[in-house]
């Protein structure tokens, strides 16, 4: 891949670093003055063998000397004019900039240019709501605009089509005429490509896009924009420009608000400088709280910002009050769960941020929007509860809201009538809806299977909402930090760079079938062209180099008597694993639980910095049990024996605070210098239990109490110094009766005698030599694993999975042995909004035919509902029976996949179909009012509406499917189902349309 670098003339020489290296904090111009030239980096990727000199041909028909397709009333930023210059040359461009930087200008220019040249242009965005908003925005600017989402289709023949990426993909599979007319495709928020579930849609769409069209990619700042552009250049054999800027029109100031404290600490100023001293100061405010609360927190999950002690104002209240006082409003407060969002808003009950005339305004806007709803729906609790809150200038915005409420709130916020908005992450993408201040009330996020810290990329995206261009001279960003947050994590988040754009490619049956159905479609071709493959290929040279280096390193290590040393080493390894086995048996919760009383002395392993030692001796020290508790896991219904336990042990630790203030605790021998600390250890780190128990004082909070206790422990140890502290005998005391235990102990004895006899044992420097040997072994293992990844990436990525998936399709009779799509395959082709295999199997088993229309709708709701509800009532028998049928089908499909060597967990797969909203959907299909079905379930209104809308999508796909097999009765039934659910508030039109 050749690259030709052309720098934007505005780029000062000093800033000419490539986009990959431009860290976030050096971008913001030193002076906030808008007149100062702003840096942007321009780079071009040419496809291999591309002759740059012939690139002057102009596909778009524009070009030098032709008037610009659109002029803007304001002066363009350098990155905008740079991007537009590429567009005028008719070449693809990727624009990577912050949300608020003004990427829309580029999109507008492309649309204007295409309309002028009588070409079609497609704008795709990841979210329906965003598509709606953009449609409205473009429609005002250019009249020839249409919209296509799963819900609505408006003017599909317009020249500019706004759609979701999914629709664009299915249009490409079906071969719409748009494909032949579209000159420009705009992919907005293309960094969505890293989304685990939906990211693959972007890759498919980009790979399959018409060969002669050009692209505009709008993305948040990504460090590897160049890599992405290289990929596009390679796949489409056309040059692709990159315009990258870190520029923010309004610079940001980042503050930290320590929980329990009452002030803000400026940690990153508007020039992007990190202020170490003030950061430390803010942590010091936290420090006193951390010691006392330490014990309370152990094992506890994050519960958000607690309401604070009674009688005292909560942090969040204090925060909002302060923001209002300092006139930092409007403010967006981000949190990461819908419930938390509402909970926080409720704490604002006492606040009133609006004047009387504003209240009148809000009420008029609110009710004129709500007029779309029927009288019954107007009485919904969510609607009626929202107004008083809104009138006080406080809003809530999350996906659980009724879509119409969400839109009203967006509109009110844009009008400046909402001063304080509690929002979830979804608010951070899309339309320009900035505030002066952004607050992060929480820094942990649940990402599907666990809680994790916010990545710096997400932080950048969300903080991009701070600062209104032309109104504020700087944006303010406040991070609420509590003691659960490691200072280093906070620092990483504040100072870290943007997330890079990595492929989240994966295969699906629907994709394979659609590819196989067209004559020149070939799933392998798609795989070869995927960004995933591109990234894997690119990593290859690096890996090769690494292997070579490691091999040289390994060969340079020379050890005498390697053979016998190896023998000895293997023996040691064996000995260690056996020891571990024994310990695992003895310390399994089944045996050990009754002995974990407080006060018992335990032997614990301590961590050392150095490599593992190579003798029979082990690094152990003593501690005293304080308490133990179950580690909570997802599955609560496990038996006590199977759970994981954590034991709180008082022992001596060295507590290190590194520069960033991150605390690391290491267990050290009792004699060493260190602090007495209670730490929570997993059972696996305990080495043995003694039969000695001691009295421990009730209050261990003061350091002296802990110190005293430890001193007593030392005393006990010295008393038993002669023959060691008596341990609990596994067989006699703990009643461990297991044949494997006995076997293992016998083998340990045998091994110990072997050690005695071994001739290397007494040779000099045995320890060092073993250490070297160990290092050598590790290098070999590393080489092996790298070679494995290399093999995996030289071969076509996903090749094995592709084979396995084809096998599944053949076994189920979807395709023939020659990869020709059969009847069932044609049905599965149509289904893209639900699990295609299970639904097709269910359809062919006649289950849909059997059920009534309402039952069928309820059954299909299991395919679209993904949230797992606690204690959801079981659906009535007739529905439960159908659900059972579904589960059986799913299990059969999953088992078959497993047989075909696809990695799948059968039970997880079966349980991914949720019956929780069956009842609600059933009665919705029977004509119930929305407030009636809301009483039946505990779900958010917005979630249910989304599910029903998606259900309608599935029904439409099934209609197409039954048409293709000629089953007219089922088709009529499905049509009826659509007409039954498509009504009222659930399908109320968007306010943006």
């Amino acid at each position: 891949m050749e690259t030709l670098k052309r720098k934007a003339p505005e780029v000062p020489a000093a800033r000419a670093n490539s986009p990959t290296k431009a860290p976030r904090d050096d971008d913001a111009p030193a002076a906030p003055a808008a007149s100062e030239p702003v840096a942007c980096v321009h780079d071009v990727s040419y496809p291999e063998g591309y002759d740059a000199s012939t690139s002057s041909r102009i596909v778009a028909g524009g070009g030098e000397g032709v008037a610009p397709a659109k002029t803007f009333p304001f002066k363009l930023d350098p990155f905008q004019s740079e991007a537009i210059r590429c567009l005028d040359n008719g070449e693809s461009v990727m624009v990577s900039a912050h949300t608020s930087a003004g990427k829309t200008v580029v999109a507008l220019y492309v649309i204007a240019m295409s309309l002028r040249n009588q070409q079609r242009v497609i704008y795709t965005s990841p979210i329906k709501a965003l598509s709606n908003q953009k449609y409205r925005e473009f429609k005002e600017e250019f009249s020839d605009v249409g919209l296509m989402t799963g819900d609505v289709t408006i003017e599909p023949n317009a020249s500019c089509l706004v759609m979701t990426t999914e629709i664009w993909r299915s249009m490409q599979y079906k071969g719409s005429e748009v494909m032949r007319e579209v000159a420009w495709v705009i992919f907005d928020e293309v960094h969505y490509m890293r989304d685990r579930e939906r990211g693959v849609v972007w890759e498919e769409s980009i790979v399959m896009a018409p060969k002669n069209s050009r692209f505009v990619f709008l993305s948040a700042t990504v460090p590897n924009a160049k890599e992405f552009a290289d990929w596009v250049a390679k796949v489409h054999k056309q040059p692709c420009h990159i315009v990258y800027t870190d520029y923010r029109p309004t610079p940001l100031q980042h503050y930290v608000f320590p929980s329990g404290g009452d002030g803000l600490y400026l940690v990153v100023d508007e020039n992007g400088k990190f202020r170490e001293d003030s950061f430390q100061k803010s942590l010091n405010v936290l420090a006193p709280a951390s010691g006392g609360d330490k014990k309370r927190e152990n094992g506890k999950r994050q519960k958000g910002i607690s309401a604070g002690k009674p009688g005292e104002e909560s942090d969040i209240f204090k925060m909002v009050k302060m923001i209002i006082q300092r006139q930092y409003d409007p403010v967006i407060l981000f949190s990461f769960s819908k419930r938390e969002c509402e909970f926080l808003a409720m704490q604002m009950a006492k606040m009133d941020l609006n004047e009387d005339d504003e209240k009148v305004n809000i009420e008029t806007i609110f009710w004129s929007a709500m007029d779309l709803l029927s009288d019954d729906d107007k009485k919904l609790p969510q609607v009626s509860n929202m107004l008083p809150l809104l009138k006080r200038g406080i809003g809530v915005h999350h996906s659980g809201l009724l879509p119409i409420l969400k839109e009203v709130i967006e509109i009110l916020f844009q009008e400046g009538l909402i001063k304080c908005l509690f929002a979830t992450e979804t608010f951070s993408i899309g339309l320009n809806m900035p505030a002066k201040t952004v607050v992060f009330t929480n820094v942990r996020k649940f990402d599907g299977d666990r809680f994790r810290w916010l990545s710096s990329g997400e932080y950048i995206q969300m903080s991009g909402r701070a600062g209104r261009r032309g109104i504020d001279d700087r944006g303010i960003c406040i991070l609420m930090v509590d003691d659960k947050m490691e200072p280093s994590t906070a620092k990483m988040m504040l100072k870290g760079g943007a997330d890079s754009l990595n492929s989240a490619f994966h295969l699906s049956y629907n994709m394979l079938l659609n590819q196989m159905r067209c004559e020149d479609g070939d799933p392998e071709k798609l795989l070869r062209h995927s960004f995933y493959q591109f990234q894997a290929d690119r990593a290859l040279p690096d890996l090769e180099k690494r292997v070579r280096e490691l091999e040289i390193e390994r060969n340079s290590m020379v050890i005498d008597e390697e053979e016998s040393l190896k023998d000895y080493y293997d023996l040691l390894e064996q000995y260690k694993t056996l020891k571990k086995d024994v310990r695992d048996i003895v310390l399994s919760p089944k045996y050990v639980l009754p002995f974990l009383q407080s006060g018992r002395l335990v032997r614990v392993q301590f961590s050392t910095d150095e490599q593992p030692t190579f003798s029979i001796d082990e690094n152990v020290t003593w501690g005293i049990i304080i308490n133990f508790e179950k580690v909570k896991t997802q599955a609560e219904d496990r038996k006590p024996e199977d759970c994981d336990y954590a034991v709180d042990i008082l022992t001596r630790c060295s507590v290190n605070k590194d520069i960033s203030g991150k605390k690391t605790m290491k267990i050290i021998p009792l004699k060493d210098r260190g602090e007495p600390v209670v730490i929570s250890l997993p059972l696996s780190q305990i080495d043995g239990l003694s039969s000695v128990r001691m009295y421990i004082p009730k209050d261990l909070l003061p350091v002296e109490a802990r110190e005293n206790t430890l001193r007593k422990v030392e005393e006990v140890i010295s008393r038993f110094a002669k023959d060691g502290i008596p341990l609990l005998d596994p067989e006699e005391d703990m009643e461990v009766k297991s044949s494997s235990y006995r076997k293992a102990t016998r083998r340990i004895e045998a091994l110990e005698s072997l050690f005695e006899k071994h001739d290397v044992r007494n040779s000099p420097h045995i320890q060092q030599r073993l250490k070297i040997f160990h290092a050598k072994k590790e290098i070999s293992a590393k080489i092996k694993s790298i070679k494995k990844t290399m093999r995996a990436s030289t071969a076509l990525a996903f090749k094995d999975e592709l084979k396995a998936r084809k096998r599944v399709l053949r076994r189920l009779g979807y395709i023939t042995s020659e990869d020709v799509v059969e009847v069932k395959g044609k049905v599965a082709c149509e289904i893209s909004s639900a699990d295609e295999l299970t639904l097709t199997e269910l359809m062919f088993s006649g289950a849909l035919k059997d059920a009534t229309v309402e039952q069928m709708v309820a059954l299909l709701s299991c395919f679209v509902w993904q949230e797992k509800l606690q204690d959801a009532p079981k659906p009535r028998d007739e529905l439960d029976l159908l659900f059972y049928q579904l589960q059986e089908t799913a299990r059969r499909v999953a088992n078959l996949q497993l047989e075909c060597k696809i990695q799948i967990d059968v039970e997880t797969f079966v349980n991914s179909f949720r019956p929780d909203v069956m009842e609600a959907v059933y009665s919705w299909a029977r004509g119930s009012k929305f407030h009636q079905i809301m009483e039946m379930t505990q779900v958010f209104e917005g979630s249910l509406i989304r599910a029903i809308r998606r259900l309608e999508e599935v029904l439409q796909q099934l209609i197409l499917a039954s048409k293709s097999i000629g089953e007219t009765e089922l088709e009529a039934k499905l049509e009826e189902a659509v007409s039954k659910i498509k009504r009222d508030i659930v399908f109320a039109a968007s306010l943006y349309l």
Binding site: R57, V59, N117, Q118, Q119, R120, S159, K174, G175, E177, R180, E181, V182, A183, P210, K211, N212, S213, M516, R517, C518, E519, D520, G813, E818, D819, V820, V821, E822, V823, K824, K826, E841, M843, F844, S845, G846, A847, K849, D850, K963, S964, I965, G966, E967, E969, L970
Partner: protein, 319 residues
């Protein structure tokens, strides 16, 4: 095979009958058992919720065939696969058709279906390869793309809401077919395969087996992805192109005759069988025009009978 009238002599007649008899005996028996004619009852277990697919209808609680053919069952789906009916298009089929009419923004094509197929102007790539909306000028120039009686290759896009069948040309390899022969065979002789476009390099010939029973044998054309080649270059190469070498013409005729023979004998047309037949005619020095003579028919039938018997034996041997 009903319409097969050959001037056979006595020996040839006996040989042909023997070959056909053997072929019949080799055919799987199960296929004939499930065959139905119109108004036949299709036995189903009424307890099950069967799905009634194409060619079936509900009549007083009984499932009745509305077409002649073979009953096929996929799980609970029951449908009738027709044998000698007209072509029935399915999404994604590759077809060859003949333009019969030019209408506003569309061509109508005869494709051996019960209605004419529609190829929209917007479903065609423009000759200049530029992605843009179609203008009135394009519409006026439609005849420069396809005229009446042109042979066109396209893909079935699907049925529109008004019930009309739409075609599309996904890439440059679809479009007008020139310098070759169009053969019409019964649609059931062409089975859906992964590939319907075949480029026979040894003959420099393109063979397109349209799912609708239209088979195209023609001179190979290079698919040009980059259509922006210079205008004058285009003209020059046009002149060269118009001349199809006599060798290629002979190959086209030979392959076309092979298709004719095979379809007349009622053999399913696969690319392998067509090539084999053509090769056989070459190796036994049969002149192109003699391929349609009685002797070659008999030979082809005998060869096919032998091949199938071998295949069956191998299959049984493997068991």
């Amino acid at each position: 095979m009903r319409d097969l009238h050959l001037p056979l002599n006595q020996t040839q007649r006996v040989r042909l009958e023997a070959a056909l008899h053997e072929l019949q005996s080799l055919a799987p028996a199960a296929a004939s058992a499930a065959s139905v004619t119109v108004a036949d009852n299709i036995p189903v277990n009424q307890e099950d919720n069967i799905l009634k697919g194409h060619g079936t209808s509900d009549h007083d609680g009984e499932v009745v065939a509305t077409l002649c053919g073979v009953v096929e069952r996929v799980n609970k789906l029951v449908y009738v696969r027709t044998l000698r009916a007209r072509y029935k298009p399915e999404v994604g089929d590759i077809i060859v058709g003949r333009v019969i009419e030019i209408a506003p923004k569309r061509w109508r094509l005869e494709i051996n279906f019960s209605q004419d197929a529609v190829l929209m102007l917007s479903s065609m790539n423009l000759p200049d390869g530029i992605q843009r909306r179609r203008t009135a000028v394009d519409e006026l120039n439609m005849r420069s793309i396809f005229e009446e009686n042109d042979v066109v290759c396209a893909e079935v896009r699907g049925f529109q809401h008004d019930g009309s069948l739409h075609l599309q040309a996904r890439s440059q390899k679809y479009g007008k077919l020139q310098r070759g022969q169009l053969l019409t065979v019964p649609a059931y002789l062409v089975k859906r395969r992964k590939q319907h476009f075949h480029h026979l390099e040894q003959y420099d010939v393109d063979l397109i087996l349209g799912c609708n029973g239209f088979v195209w044998v023609g001179q190979h054309v290079l698919v040009r992805e980059n259509t922006e080649s210079k205008e004058d270059k285009q003209k020059l190469s046009d002149e060269v192109d118009t001349f199809t070498p006599i060798e290629t013409r002979k190959h086209i005729c030979r392959l076309a005759n092979a298709v004719r023979v095979l379809s007349a004998l009622g053999f399913t047309l696969t690319i392998e069988l067509i090539i084999q037949t053509a090769e056989a005619s070459l190796s036994s020095n049969v002149e192109i025009n003699d391929m349609l003579g009685a002797e070659f028919y008999v030979q082809t039938a005998e060869r096919e009978a032998r091949r199938r018997a071998d295949l069956l034996r191998k299959k049984n041997g493997a068991r």
